[in-house]
Amino acid sequence: MKDIKLKRYHGASWAEPLIMELGRKGERGIIPPKADQEVRDTVGEASSLIPSNMQRKEDANLPEVSQYHVLQHYLRLSQETMGMETGIDIGEGTCTMKYSPKMHEQLVRSDKMAALHPLQPEEHLQGILEITYQLEQFLKEISGMHRFSFQPGGGSHAVYTNACVMRKYHESRGELEQRDEVITTIFSHPCDAATPATAGFKVITVMPDANGYPDLDALKAVVSERTAGIMFTNPEDTGIYNPRVAEYVKVVHDAGGLCFYDQANANGILGIARAFDAGFDACHFNLHKTFSSPHGCEGPAGGAYGVREELAPFLPVPLVDFDGEKYFLDYDRPLSIGKIRSFLGNLECVMRAYAWIMSLGADGLRTVAETSVLNNNYLDKLLMEIKGVSRPYAEGKRRLEQVRYSLEQLKEETGVGTEDVRNRIIDFGIQGYWMSHHPWIVAEPFTPEPCETYSKADCDYWAAAIHQAVKEAYENPEFVMNAPYNQAIGKIKDPSVAEDPNKWAMTWRAYQKKYRKKERE
């Protein structure tokens, strides 16, 4: 790490005002089309078409800004965003920040994708239906499952869909009133606990055993005739693969429950291990993580939800099917849970996933998986040499595609915690890392995931940045606690804004009421 020279980075800093503060009265950003004279003559003024009590009395208080300046404003804001592609985004573990090929974006923007209405007759959607159908075949092969739905608009939404499918399954067997408990594990994504709760289930969380695996004895102690199912991840967010996962599945199956495999962390096992083979009844993939769709400031995202044959009748409608000649939408599914999202889902994500898999093929996917695991173990080697960094649980066991590390020692010795280090490393031109979901079972956590996108040099640089921040923490803790330094703005002054209704302002109009009023007085 000694030979790595960290960049003298500084984030773009435009001191850009809010759009509401820009422009002058009367400026225009765009002029919409006007109804034709004949149209207007025929139907009269717009106001004559609106019941008088429903007419807007005053124009909305929107900014008035010329087109160039709107563009400039948002270009500047984009520059003040590091995003994934400009900073090495190894840090956001569980999120699989992989490269999203630009060619896909050209296709998404083309009329053949962007100008399709989801209710068009099937004959006119044959291209996108074919792609959807084909992607389903690919994911069936990758997971071993039998049917997929692409309706969920994100990973958590797919997990919610599973909760609804479990519900419907037990309902169809007249057992829902009895089976009202869903089990999950604490190192699974929060949605594995939250979405069954939303769907109406009681939720039981299983804690890790001493090695970090979900406590199998605890699972055995809580499964019963009340168990609707289990929803969990493997490898969990710790990156530890649970080799006995099939036993967990059996315990739940023996009690009559269903088993759902949250595959948010699938990047290291593509072509290596399959959900179906471990006995699972259902699984999901994040098309925006594992299958290259860009994360888009948190969406649009794609959740692909797959099930065994027995659960297929419960999938949301419609499914995409093929009759040998043409692709069609199958609505005739009487046991379906119905809809969980309007229309067909985010098919732009489906299209990108299709193209990405086609670019790689079976060997390529395996190389993706192997490289992500190789990168992770290489980075692990570098990070574990840094004083103050530890890797709790399962000593001597290999992690797959990510690791949950702890800076607990650093915190105790210097007072500098993981959040401080996160704020410091962005000064070296890399994106801030993901710490952990809550609660923090691992103290002062951080969770990097150097997926296949990143080079050896990227891993070296990233580890060097952590090394530098830690070194600074030992030399001058306050310096790190006051980071970052090279960003567009200084440190947020009063975090109580987040919890104080008198101080928070979630819109500019609220800000004006709460702060500008005081200034005027």
Partner: protein, 467 residues
């Protein structure tokens, strides 16, 4: 494994020499050793049966374009389908910005490294707040249906009641989403969804029926404006009053592009407003441009019960400079897992930036003008179509969608739509199964993108088709 090197442009470390170097540094012979934790019986042994890879970008592009070319676009055909996914003009600057790499690929970076993302979002909340006349706007969810369902769940928690009233005229798909969120009857936190009838002639809410059905069990009265079938609901003050007299919240689902000319729901007492921002600068994208929002009064109880992320502007240590903080972060499922409010997850964040750019470009005048053009075009089309022999249009008021009834022409909507395809027209959404009480009817959508001649083209095609 490394018999044949597979070097791919998306995988820098697929170069064999680099892999060797890294393996050596780790201290293992092969990648296989790194998979030691996956037991043999769980290993997938064969090779996945996937098509031959097309690693050449050009060839792959040709391949995908070839498949996509089988689609017919709403630019090749004249489109009158809406029903929640509406074709409006997308300004070029919106496309330019949402396709900026930084926004397109950003994820969970914090307020310092991703400041621009947070500012653009805050501008979205602020601009939407002006349109709605409300002080709090949430991060987006998947679509209107989810936003409505989550709003109803919020209302149930806020009031401690477990029954909601929704209009009988509601999109069947949206209703299905809502019902899934309200849980089946046997579950302990089930929210009963009851329907309020509509008046046959106007398509508007039947106030008498509302009065009959509302009670001390009612958590919320939910209406949509414009309604699913395009009417402008004008009894809003009364509905609001009835809801409040009964201790229920008043929730309004809106099409935000109507709000340049229609009264903002904040003005008529809406406690929570939800809807979809797709019309504000998002392509129809085969339904991929949907994005639900929730807005509400600036009161602690609303923020505390909102499941979606909320952000506030905050001062930094430098005068006049702002950063952004997450409000009451712990209430969400990211903070409290199963004990949080419903759940939150990656949904449709990029579209908030699209909507912010859209509203900035449009400004007050643009939003008024686009509303005027839409309502004029739609009413013009409705009038001309209503004059065709055998065709009736239903209900009085129309914003951009209206119902055409074909009972008098002896053809099904399906037949008519098929015939319209000959004229390169996508006819309206078939309602005959969704609302059998309207007979053989379809929901047509006309917006600012339709010119007079487009409308004339539809009218003359319809005349031919119904002959």
């Amino acid at each position: 494994m490394e018999k044949k090197a597979f070097v791919h442009p998306y995988i820098p470390n697929s170069v064999p020499e680099v892999r060797e170097e890294m393996l050596k540094a780790i201290g293992v012979e092969s990648v296989e050793e790194l998979y030691a934790e996956i037991p043999d019986h769980l290993r997938f042994k064969g090779k996945m049966n996937l098509p031959e890879a097309i690693p050449s970008e050009y060839e792959l592009k040709r391949h995908v374009e070839g498949i996509l070319s089988k689609n017919t676009t709403c630019k090749e055909y004249l489109n009158f389908l809406g029903a929640g996914c509406w074709q409006h003009y997308v300004p070029a600057v919106v496309d330019e910005i949402v396709n900026r790499s930084e926004f397109l690929t950003a994820y969970c970076g914090g307020t310092y490294s991703d400041l621009g993302k947070f500012q653009a979002r805050f501008e979205f909340y602020s601009l939407m707040g002006e349109l709605l006349n409300l002080d709090v706007v949430s991060e987006p969810t998947y679509d209107w249906g989810t936003a409505a369902g989550l709003s109803l769940r919020m209302a149930s928690r806020i009031t401690g009641r477990n029954e909601v009233l929704v209009p009988k005229i509601i999109d069947g798909d949206r209703l299905s989403i809502i019902k899934n969120l309200c849980q089946p009857e046997t579950m302990s936190h089930h929210i009963a969804v009851r329907f309020v009838d509509y008046r046959k002639e106007s398509g508007l809410l039947d106030i008498e029926d509302l009065k009959r059905k509302i009670s001390s069990k009612t958590a919320a009265v939910y209406i949509e404006n414009p309604t699913y079938l395009g009417c402008i609901e004008n009894q809003v003050e009364e509905i609001s009053r009835i809801a409040k007299e009964n201790g229920a919240l008043f929730i309004v689902g809106v099409d935000p592009i109507s709000l340049g000319i229609l009264v903002p729901p904040g003005d008529y007492g809406a406690d929570i407003v939800c809807g979809d921002i797709q019309p504000l600068g998002m392509h129809i994208l085969c339904g991929g441009g949907q994005s639900g929002f929730i807005a509400f009064r600036d009161e602690e109880i609303y923020a505390a019960e909102c499941p979606l992320a909320l952000y506030s502007i905050a001062h930094t240590d430098q005068e006049g400079q702002y950063g952004y903080v997450e409000v009451l972060a712990e209430r969400t499922s990211y903070g409290l897992r199963d004990k949080g409010k419903d759940w939150v997850g990656t949904a449709s964040g990029l579209w908030t930036i699209g909507a912010a750019v859209y509203l900035s470009l449009m400004g007050p005048q643009g939003m008024r003008e686009v509303g005027e053009t839409i309502i004029q075009n739609a009413n013009y089309a409705k009038k001309l179509i209503g004059e065709i022999d055998g065709i009736k249009t239903l209900f009085d008021s129309t914003f951009k969608e209206f119902v055409i009834n074909f009972d008098g022409v002896g053809k099904t909507v399906k037949e008519i739509n098929q015939a319209l395809e000959e004229y390169q027209i996508f006819g309206g959404k078939d309602l005959s199964k969704e609302f059998p009480e309207f007979g053989n009817s379809a929901l047509y959508c006309v917006t600012e993108i339709h010119s007079k001649s487009d409308i004339h083209k539809l009218v003359s095609a319809l005349k031919e088709v119904v002959k």
